[in-house]
């Protein structure tokens, strides 16, 4: 009897402890984000106040209103940046997935010479720091005439993401038993049909998880974008953030408002696919 109560008490304490630590952890994660949201709604005088103002006194959507009110009236071409970002991040993610599927399938299903070396080589392209790449890449792009174009940005991000998508998707295809596809082929399917009807559906969660990673990386990338984009033709949101800094002044509130605009789509997308994301990663990369 005694031991039982103690046990129950113990378990309850553990549970409360767990809830508290979960709450603390989530607060630490979310607070800086909430602070950005709050900063976008408060006048600067309150954000920078000393002694600090902890409880917001006045909230307004001024920063958002002026953000969309066009150049010259405190606005920056957010809509252009937003559209560029969507086009560039979405297309580069899709292309990186297709290329990654082709590559991953090759690594998973075929034997060929130098496989490991090629694989590691792919990965190592990702270790090159942006600064070593930016000027020569600019040079190559300038010769090809794709500076400040969507195409140029999309290609750059595909290259950035391909090593990763190949890796994740490769692991996933390995998971799908070879026999399944072979059985389908015996049943009269072509290899192509077998791929689409048997292997692809099974690998879908892995592809989704590779996709969300690729999307987030393209959506937030700054170093390459600042070098390869120059005008509203192709400037993306992270580069647009700097429009709020002038030579001597920074509009912190405006910047926060733009940050919120940047985060919302990424958050929504993650929320939608997070289920696939976890199950996708679960076995995708590990068994490769």
């Amino acid at each position: 009897m005694e031991a039982n109560t103690l046990n129950r008490l113990n378990r309850r304490l553990l549970k409360i402890g767990h809830l508290i630590s979960l709450f603390l952890a989530m607060s630490i994660i979310c607070l800086p984000g909430l602070w950005v949201v709050l900063s976008s709604l408060r006048p600067t005088v309150e954000i920078m106040a000393k002694p600090p103002v902890w409880i917001p006194q006045q909230l307004s959507f001024d920063a958002y209103v002026s953000m969309f009110s066009g150049a010259g009236r405190g606005g920056i071409p957010v809509l252009d940046y937003f559209i560029n970002s969507v086009i560039i991040a979405a297309s580069s993610t899709i292309i990186a997935l297709v290329v990654g599927m082709a590559g991953g399938y090759a690594f998973a299903r075929y034997r060929f010479r130098g496989k490991t070396a090629i694989f590691v080589g792919f990965m190592l392209t990702r270790t090159v720091p942006g600064i070593a790449l930016s000027l020569p890449l600019f040079y190559v792009y300038a010769r090809l005439g794709v500076i400040d174009t969507h195409f140029g940005m999309i290609m750059a991000y595909v290259a950035l993401n391909v090593p990763f998508t190949v890796w994740l998707i490769d692991g996933f295809f390995r998971q799908v038993p070879k026999d399944l596809a072979e059985a389908a082929q015996i049943d009269g399917c072509t290899r192509w049909q077998a791929f689409w009807q048997v292997e692809f559906p099974l690998a879908r969660p892995g592809i989704a998880s590779a996709g969300i990673f690729a999307f987030l990386i393209s959506w937030n990338e700054f170093a390459l974008a600042s070098q390869l984009t120059r005008s509203t033709n192709s400037k993306t949101l992270p580069v647009g953030l700097l429009d709020y800094t002038a030579e001597f002044t920074t509009d912190w509130r405006g910047m926060c408002a733009l940050a919120v605009v940047m985060i919302i789509p990424a958050l929504a997308l993650t929320f939608i696919v997070q289920k696939h994301l976890v199950s996708g990663l679960t076995s995708g990369a590990v068994k490769g």
Partner: protein, 439 residues
């Protein structure tokens, strides 16, 4: 030659202005079918002006293609990239007096493309600062920057602290006129961590620029007549020691060596800084209750003098340049003129930034007749503009800044003595100048 021309008196400028009417028919001119690629500085403060581009297109029949619009530092990076890859295939670019010497030879002499009267209508010192090796490489827009001293007025009205100050320092408490007075008062007002006497931008070109103007005010020179670094002089040590003393006395925020301009401005607006040497772009911000706690309590005066009696008045300005490789320089020069003419400058200056044409100065001061704060601001900055000087005109200025500022920081933070830090910095700067072939 240039000297005599710069010596023109205000009267001649006024004369020239009235004469400029004759050229109005020729400018902006007609450039049917011409297409100009331009690179502009982006950001809210700068973009209102670009709506005027449409008017110029209508007036001349030419079209303008904005090939790029970037933040100040990104634009600098971009122009260097273009230079390196041989891609100067555009006509008009935004430029800045501190950065201009880095792009040797890519910009053409505007004096050859525009009537002299138009050029004479600008404030002479800005034209001088825009002239490199005898070539007028840029035409200044109404984005002129020189610093003036902002302070919290109420601090100087409090009888108790007035008495206490006079008791301690032996002279009356009033807005400072010399750097020694700034030091006394900053230490007097400071109450860390809640309140600081003053602050300074502590890194990159910002601290080097502040050190440079202080050096001039102390009677030193940054580069000597032969272009050799000369800032490790006695005047240099005095200048740097000012920063060190304030830091040691905790009269400036402890983080000041990591501050850039935006931190400085936000700091003064937060009401925790007594005296603040800062740029004109902040005047409206400081006096706006939406953004600043000291709104209504902001006083402004000329920048202080150093022990040599010189003002510290390092200045810079934005402008537009025409490239040497441009196919249609006349059209490009016309656009540059249009974006810096009286109407354009009035448009920009009405939002707060300082003009660079003498007539527009008069205009803004007249406009501010009913606004005592704005009038005080304009008077202080006009005074500062008259004694202002640009950074040393060496292509390596930014590179030297990058080598010098960590040394200045080391002295301020107490890692080295002022003399030692300056000697080390001078050695590095000399090395840079030797490598670039300037020495």
């Amino acid at each position: 030659m240039r000297r005599t021309y710069l010596g023109v008196s205000i009267a001649t400028v006024a004369l020239a202005l009235s004469g400029a009417g004759g050229y109005a028919q020729e400018l902006p001119g007609s450039f049917e079918g011409v297409r100009l690629d331009v690179k502009l500085i982006g950001g809210q403060q700068y973009e209102a002006l670009y709506e005027r581009i449409g008017e110029w297109e209508e007036a001349t029949g030419a079209t303008v293609n904005i090939a790029s619009k970037q933040n100040h530092f990104e634009l600098d990076k971009e122009i260097k990239t273009d230079l390196a890859t041989g891609l100067i295939n555009w006509c008009v670019g935004s430029n800045h007096s501190s950065f201009a010497p880095q792009y040797p030879g890519i910009y053409t002499d505007l004096a050859a493309l525009l009537p002299q009267e138009e050029i004479d209508a600008f404030v002479p010192s800005t034209i001088e600062a825009s002239t490199l090796d005898g070539r007028l490489v840029m035409l200044p827009r109404a984005q002129y920057d020189v610093s003036a001293l902002y302070y919290q007025k109420s601090l100087y009205e409090d009888e108790e602290s007035k008495a206490a100050f006079e008791e301690e320092y032996g002279y009356e408490l009033r807005p400072p006129e010399t750097w020694d007075e700034v030091k006394d008062q900053a230490i007097f007002f400071a109450d860390p961590p809640n309140f600081y006497g003053t602050q300074f931008a502590g890194k990159e070109e910002a601290i080097n620029g502040r050190f440079y103007e202080m050096l001039i005010a102390e009677g030193g020179e940054y580069l000597d007549a032969e272009g050799r670094p000369a800032f490790n002089s006695e005047a240099g040590v005095r200048a740097l020691q000012w920063f060190v003393d304030l830091y040691e006395a905790k009269a400036v925020p402890a983080g000041t060596t990591n501050y850039l301009w935006d931190d400085i401005g936000q700091g003064f607006a937060s009401g925790t800084i007594a005296i603040n040497l800062d740029w004109p772009g902040w005047a409206g911000f400081f006096n706006d209750p939406e953004s600043s706690k000291v709104a209504g309590d902001v006083g402004i005066t000329m920048p202080p003098k150093g022990s040599a009696g010189e003002y510290s008045a390092w200045s810079g300005h934005h402008g537009f340049s025409v490239t040497e490789s441009c196919d249609n320089k006349e059209a490009a020069a016309s656009l540059v003129w249009f974006l810096t003419n009286e109407e354009s400058q009035q448009l920009e200056a009405s939002a707060g930034p300082l003009p660079t044409r003498s007539a527009v100065w008069d205009w803004v001061i007249e406009e501010a007749a009913d606004d005592p704060f704005r009038k005080e601001v304009l008077t202080a900055f006009q005074g500062a503009a008259e004694v202002a000087y640009p950074v040393p005109q060496t292509a390596a200025w930014i590179e030297i800044s990058n080598a010098v500022y960590p040394q200045l920081q080391a002295a301020i933070l107490g890692d080295k003595t002022a003399k030692q830090a300056l000697d080390d910095a001078a050695a590095q700067a000399t090395e840079i100048l030797e490598e670039t072939g300037e020495l």
